[in-house]
Homo-oligomer: 228 residues x 4
DNA sequence: AATGAATGAGGGTTCATTCAT
DNA sequence: AATGAATGAACCCTCATTCAT
């Protein structure tokens, strides 16, 4: 997904022929702006500026700031869902499949920081806008079903603990991957460590793989002892 | 520890006697406002409204919106640092000490959501304001040193792996605890699970304890096999 | 006579076959909108919305907002003129004929509030648009001629005073009937009395009949004494 | 009440010393604008322009367009109430007192067209704003009480009919006086008669006096015969 | 030490109209 | 004959800040 447009490409055309392209350009610019500044602070003018159009045109296409924002959110989720569909987990042994899921997720967040920022932004807004959009409320990310299937295979092979909920595994993967992006500035500053797409990404990703696989693969006995 | 602690602790009192109290009230109101809406979207007027004062007075006390924000951030970090200082880890066995750290961190985030929101907000702003404040750039949170000491004790006792960096442990603890708060709205909506201070907090906290202790306590051999 | 007649009589039908029908639908919707909000505040978009067409189409049919408005005004006057033509005054004794005129006028205003609102609106605009339309400037409402004829009959029969101008009679009838509709909200609120189509319409109409007939029927001597 | 300001008087002063004067100037300008164009069509910018200030300042003083409008309405009603208080009806015989009330009302509307236009405008808006203002909802215009007292005196003296409600008398007076102003443009155009403050004001006012006095003074028997 | 007054900039949205097709 | 696309202007309101007192 190309978020960075060369402004020159569109500067000349006053009246773009295709409204589809216009819509897409606005959506891309809005994605950047909303990801960059959050819903409230994002400016319709800034979005217009990024696309060489006007606020009026944006409202013509999307109706309002909130509707535009919801379109952005919807597309962002659609994109990650699409990417998740590309994973070929059935070809891999359970352990390798988990590793792939973790690495995919970790890398996706690093490569698509805008997605992470949008999700964070929506959470900072307490999910206000998501609540109002039936389409977004109905969202479900297939990654958890895939994850469940892999875990089931692993359990059948005696490789994974059976007292761990797949959703908790997903949460751990998401949390550890997101944190790398969401907290890169404060964490980086306070602990002097490069985060996000900077520094030793491979190492930090490997740590997450390690955490998740260790957890999933530990024996039940050990788990019991940890719980008092 | 009091759950759901509100920073706006002086909202009830109307006309404070001293300028000190005035300053404190403004700081408390600003904490709430900045946490609630983020830096850009926060309104000086709203802060004034929460304190029965005026925008002019706030500028008189703090100089500008950004300086006020930095004061808020500084105090928020000072408060968690203080709380971390209360932990009495030396009295505990390594394993129990780690458990206490994880639970403390998890609970602190749940109870002090405003702190989490401020940190997220500053990261969404890419650390812009933190960078400009020498005091904040010099921030250090003692928790990592305490954590290091505990891990060292655990290693000496042959309980913990020795190839894990304490900072990575802290990151895992912070990530898993923060995610519970930061992503409660989207995650909750998409996966139909109560997050944050709602739902089965104890279970979710126990999951985090389990993840961290399993990881720390796994054998080196197992770890080696996981890294290809 | 149908009380509460709505000009928006075709709102239900969706896609009309002929451009004629389209024009009529737009006119009806425009009547409602202009009556409801006044010329300036009326929105071409709202009119388009009421007809499931677009602003562009309306301009295509009518040329501009003002031309549309003038068409609306013209039709509104044409309609009351038509209704006035239905009165069969020659069959009635002078006194009864006057009563019928008063009651017709009073009821017409109550039932066709949109007409009253359009007239008021045009007056609030100081007749700007009417002035520009030759057709509207040439408007004549036959009611006054009919009224004159009745008064003449009444005078010949010695029933009515002869020093009263028919136009003043018409003005009194119109004023008293219009006020009931035009000032229903402020008058109703301030004096706690239901106005317009609500409350005791029959009583209020009877008051107007009483006023007009008393005035017309009073003796010249009495009138002279009243004028100092 | 001076609605027409010489703009020169205030053009030089950038920062008026007295906020009171500023408030008054804005209120005066707003009165003119709202009376001229109605609530919806009135422009905050135009009001600002009339006072050499800015929209922001007006909002600073009045909070919003609607609050400003309500202040205008309130002042307009306060002014007519004040004027009504100046009437010295007790010194006059009942018949003369009624004549004075009719003439006062008629003249007030002619001289204070802005008041009539505001009232009409609020009615065109269906009383929306008045409903929201407790102060305006509580309005009562003392003229009706004065009128009642005079009518009572007249009845006691055997001069007036006793089956007429004072409120209906007030309504007739108001209706006939208002119509002269409110419908001056359409009525004038259609019937070629000067209305409002133009033409033979004295004659038209005398007609209203005649109508009201004739009605009030007619015998009961006559009235009975008119009601079928 | 403290504050009411004032303001320029920018916020999102609605508007009537134009124009190429 | 009819319409989707596009736009510049104007709409009301909120903002953080300045300044005289």
């Amino acid at each position: 997904m190309a978020l960075q447009f060369s402004p020159d490409r569109t500067l000349a055309m006053r009246k773009p022929k295709s409204p589809e392209a216009n819509r897409a350009r606005i959506l891309a610019a809005a994605t950047t702006e909303f990801a960059e500044r959050g819903y409230d602070a994002a400016s319709m003018d800034a979005i217009a500026g990024r696309t060489n159009t006007t606020r009026a045109l944006i409202n013509y296409y999307f109706g309002s700031k909130e509707k535009l924002y919801l379109s952005v959110l919807q597309q962002a989720y659609a994109e990650i869902r699409e990417a998740e569909n590309e994973l070929r987990l059935d070809d891999l042994a359970p352990l390798e499949a988990i590793r792939r899921i973790v690495e995919f997720t970790y890398d996706y967040y690093v490569a698509h920081e805008y997605f992470v920022r949008l999700v964070v932004s929506e959470n900072q807004a307490k999910g206000t806008h998501m609540k109002r959009s039936p389409a977004l409320r109905r969202l479900n990310r297939p990654i958890v079903e895939r994850l469940s299937a892999v875990i089931e295979r692993g359990r059948a092979a005696g490789l994974f603990r059976s007292d761990i909920e797949p959703l908790d595994v997903h949460m751990a993967i998401a949390a550890l991957g997101m944190f790398n992006v969401t907290n890169q500035f404060t964490f980086g500053t306070i602990f002097q460590r490069e985060m996000g797409a900077k520094g030793d990404v491979a190492h930090r990703r490997q740590v997450v793989v390690d955490i998740v696989l260790t957890w999933l693969g530990s024996t039940r006995a050990a788990a019991r002892s940890r719980a008092h």
